[in-house]
Assembly symmetry: D2
Homo-oligomer: 426 residues x 4
């Protein structure tokens, strides 16, 4: 077991590298800058606001754990548009002018490095701020050079990467993803099964930068990436931030199951008008998302255990691009359930949420916890971070846990174990 | 610790005595009779449909635990109207004719014993089938005689009682509730602080019949009752079945807290048109209900721990009598939450549920689990049954747990412990 | 102007011929049979339940107008499945057994004639009870023979036809639809632009049977049909029954416009699980429906008049096949509106309706009113029946009126005019 | 009939006097000031944004009618708190800082005159900026002096008054309201049946100032006020602005009736957190509101005409004070309707609206239209303005019209008639 004295201390500056610097990244960065000045609360962040039980008492997580402090973070990343974070935030319309004004200069100073962009994986966007290279292998090397330059120029001790880019079109894992050797050959041959996000991930892993994946793209979810991570002793996590509708689904489905109430149908639709919505309007991109969103219910309800209750469940998920709403997403769910003697009931949930507002604290937590894991020598897939993801990655052979409360317990148990504590209760 | 071999076996017939034989009771009885014939599924009942982990595998609860079987149950009870269970079910309109037909004769044969009825505690009802007696002490004796006669006439080995009557007007615990001696003096003096439900409960405890309380009435939730239960070595549980809106509240509030999302307001309204709705239309009866319904959020969110997130929470609960809906209750919730930097979001939950359909499986589970507890020698308040209640009763000095998932874990842990198992995971 | 004494009296039996005998037709027929026996109310039917002002007083429409009585109706039709109306109604699960029982024998006696079925126009259905013929012209002749035989066998004085079949795939009007001559040539050459519904319609018009179209199919909405109707002096009407979501849309949009409130977005989704939902799951069929459903808002709000309020309206309509719900459709609308100084507001409408229950009274009204129009010598397109349709057909050159209340006024004004009354107020 | 040449031209400045200068008044004034500068659109105002048909074409109302222009308006009024309109607007939080900034100086310059305040009519407020006087008669004289001084100081040619104050407790019309003589005696004797709003109204009428009433208070809705208005030749209108939930009710109920769909129940609840919500939290104030809100449905559905459809309608309206929402009101409606053969359906409407944003354009329209009516010599109750009110006042003996679309037609017909036009169609 990992002992606390084996955790390297969080000294020096920590680079937070963001492939994809759009609405989520700009909301995340702005919030951290405001919080540093005492001008805003990082609501939704467990590392900053949460507590856990340890040593017989409730203690703030940032007191208990040797985490990097928000003051130590330095922000960078890549995007296919050249706008500064300030311009991006203005355009995204997630935050009000009153929240951008006090940190405007800092935001203007953060500009993305040129992005890796093969347009066939992102159908609705037309990037202008992009790297060129003859092969995918060359592009990986350019990203690696970016990372080294960033760390050197900003005087950072180490880095973490959190993918905050768009959902890519669905590309299944192929032979090229099976081993490190095959993948590297594929990079040289421009194998079409290798997507943009995989190029960033591969570069990060080679540089020893832990990588967490906030979208449904494979990115680091294939055997070659696991092999590379073991080789370079890096932490991985993913995939797809669990924010609005799916967050509620992983709460309500366990409740129905806890009470042995049956479910015949679950219909979920989403309307949203930001770049994410525009990208998902493309059926191929949506397919990737649909897979991570749909698996959730089946995993939780385990219809094979209770066929009379869940065996005929019809589950449908839709995402609709709807510009009038901008970043303010709305998820509407209808659940057809049944109780005693099969009598039908219905539940409707209308969640008027905000995509980037819900995702930003997850970026902060993942940056700090991935860095902690790395310093503690926890390499490979971080199953215990499943709390943050729609489609939790696991070590091979394990079943992902989807229930939010089981995930929460595992997260906290893992943190206590990391600190050398053997018992606890949350 | 209780050892399984110390559990008396569930031999012979078990009387299920129901003070209050209205919509819930008739739905419960009909469902059990149908399930016995294979004509209906007892959906919502953990004891009949659920599983737990024990001995390294998932096992059906009714296989794992030495529970009474549905075939062993014999139904009886009291009401202030003389209708047979068949007539009551017809009037309640919870179940369709197709579900009443196959068991009509059995339902017609079950008629309530005369009820205890002091109308000041139930404002909107006018009972006609009531006991008379000079003092409350006399009424208790009549109920005791009823119990003994029922057991004898029906050839039952033992009994459990589940209160399924209406919510009484709010009557605070007083001096008369402080001790067994004071209470018995109060019974003789017709103390106005002693309500109808307390007379039933007192009689049951004196006869050694475990008593679970499905409404917010004090019933068995006062020191004198605890003292009497210890004296007669009887199990107690309560109070107020956790069914529709509160069930969801104890699921969604923990989720928001798990993610450290703030809550500024929570508004809950209910429309229902059955006898329960009619009774709760009286402000004094509603007050009792409001207390059990409102405490839930505060207990879960613990605003003292996170004042920035929950310190200004405004929580309002309403119940509206609305006859067009009959037993089909609708709970509408609006939640005003906030995230990163305080940005507001909203959630609406509309639960088109059915009061008695959700309550019936709870009656079945509680009957079987209370009987199990009694046979296992677990006397006094059964904290571990908090899973079933809006306002869980605890042993003195303990804080009730409201989170549905923590309650579920405790329930299953307690059952494993009862069976002599030391570890487990659900 | 038409004078009442020029209306031929409603003597003899009236055949109601239904191309498409599924959920709507069986619900309609069952309801009329029950109403005849006094066992059910034809709720939703203006001709049976409504009133209008005439002669200075409020008078029931069935007293004021020389309509056929329900007792005079004889039901027949065509379908691509051979089930009797009783079997169809059982399968559709719209009506409870208690409503089918009392008229079971009558329903069993009504069996559809073999349907015209070219499967390319109805993607998801596989008909088994179909006519065969070398050309579409031959199929038209077979339908004409059916009509004549039905009238003779049942002793009917005259007939009306109401299309109650599925939505066909979208097929645009083509050269073949431009004139009677071109269409008849097309029938002989099996022109692929001629759909099933057009074959029924053509046959009816040739037999002098008024034809109203309850689906978005062109059916009678093309120049050749208008020409044929004039030639045979027959009444036409259509298209697409205005029932759930669109009904509400044509009420709420005029209200927002009346108050000069702006609209930025309107998102409408529908979940339904009957055969109609299954058919509309096919994108080509949905396209036909989408056109009739989407035009409504633009027509009402007239953004060219108020570009500041409606010029940027984004309108999206979805229909989702969702089997758990059966015939019980649910339409969910989100409206993004704005008021004073552009401040945004939202409205959500969740309509838990029943497709066939809402459509059945429209079939009855249209049967009686089309017959009335025919007897009054009103030939060609009946604009005044726009009240019943999502996409009202008009005489060439007129703009369809979509506002439900303007449509209602026109309907009643037209009826008064038909009766020779010059003024009125409703 | 009124002839256009008999309308006095809108020359000079028009004082808009507002008893009650809170959220609605400050929103109204700010919006007009912004619109004058071209910095905001007066969305929701028919006089500024709407059109009507006249002379065979569609014409903007502000071109067609001789209305005062926004530039001619001068704002004043009374309140029981001394804050300037700017301070009030800040406190009300209806408008964003970006909308207050550009007109801050103008708003700061507008301060209310001291209010008339007998606290028994407004339970939850504690005014500090109030007139003193031995009798109600004296207070009326003080208000009259205020009006004369305002007109003189601001150089206004004439004035209109729109009541924008809180809802008063319900006080039924009494003997003192029966005649001008009785009312004036009551003023001198401090009759408790005379409320604050009636004192303002009485003063206005005596000064020849037309008075429109935006709340459910009687204000000008009693015989003595009508008598006084006739005597001084003044126009009256009321009562209770029709904004959120009731606006939708007067649209949806007529639609259900148009289609002869039955209604068994209608439940309406409102949550709002502004001063209006706080006042209505008092049961006596709510009673006044409840009366105007409830009458609406009965008037529209006319259950006596269609007892089978509306005879058993159960209608319940609730207003709940809920501070987290501020001025952003939410109205939730559940409608239990039924169709063909009585089959039940449901509709839910959730209107996330903004109280003052919806009311402000009504204040503007009423100010301009009441001034027009006065200049056109239309004295007494303006039935034709019922479009703007929840509980439309009528001349004695007339039934109020509640249907929004009938009201709209009457409004436009009346305006055309005022302009000497005999026909038209909207």
């Amino acid at each position: 077991m990992t002992r606390p004295n084996s955790i390297r201390p969080p000294e020096g500056r920590l680079a937070v590298l963001l492939p994809g610097m759009g609405a989520i990244s700009s909301t995340f960065i702005t919030g951290v800058l405001l919080a540093r000045k005492g001008l805003g609360l990082p609501v939704g962040s467990l590392t900053q606001m949460g507590t856990l039980h340890a040593g017989g008492r409730s203690i703030r997580m940032d007191e208990y754990l040797p985490l990097a402090r928000m003051e130590q973070l330095v922000f960078g990343g890549w995007d296919i548009f050249p706008d500064s974070v300030y311009e991006t935030a203005l355009h995204a319309k997630v935050l009000e002018p009153e929240h951008l004004g006090p940190v405007r200069e800092e935001l203007e100073a953060i500009r993305p490095m040129k992005g890796v962009f093969h347009p066939q994986y992102v159908k609705r966007l037309h990037g202008t701020h992009v790297k060129t290279g003859a092969t995918k292998a060359e592009l990986v090397e350019q990203v690696r050079a970016d990372i080294r330059a960033f760390l050197r120029d900003k005087g950072c001790a180490r880095a973490v990467a959190i993918w905050c880019g768009s959902t890519e079109t669905y590309v299944a894992a192929a032979q090229v993803h099976a081993s490190r050797r095959a993948f590297e050959a594929g990079l040289r041959k421009n194998d079409p099964s290798i997507t943009n996000s995989q190029l960033y991930a591969w570069a990060c892993l080679q540089e020893g930068v832990p990588f967490a994946n906030g979208s449904p793209n494979l990115a680091v979810d294939f055997p070659a990436a696991a092999e590379l991570a073991r080789h370079h002793e890096v932490a991985l996590a993913g995939k797809d931030f669990k924010t609005g509708q799916t967050l509620m689904k992983t709460v309500i489905a366990p409740a129905l199951k806890a009470r042995m109430l049956g479910v015949r149908g679950w219909f979920s639709t989403n309307i949203l008008g930001n770049r994410d919505g525009e990208v998902l309007d493309d059926p191929e991109s949506f397919r990737a998302k649909e897979i991570t969103k749909r698996g959730v219910l089946e995993d939780i309800l385990q219809s094979s255990d209770s066929p009379a209750l869940y065996g005929e469940l019809f589950h449908k998920v839709r995402i609709e691009y709807y510009p009038p709403r901008g970043d303010a997403k709305e998820g509407w769910d209808n659940i057809d359930l049944f109780g005693w003697l099969g009598y039908p009931m219905q539940m409707k949930i209308d969640f008027l949420c905000r995509d980037s507002i819900l995702a930003a604290p997850l970026v902060l937590d993942l940056a700090l916890l991935m860095d902690l894991a790395q310093r503690a020598g926890r390499i490979g897939t971080q199953d215990w971070l499943g709390f943050y993801f729609k489609s939790p990655m696991t070590e091979p052979g394990r079943t992902p846990e989807q229930d939010l409360f089981v995930q929460e317990r595992r997260l906290k148990d893992s943190l206590r174990a990391l600190m050398g504590e053997t018992t606890g209760a949350d």
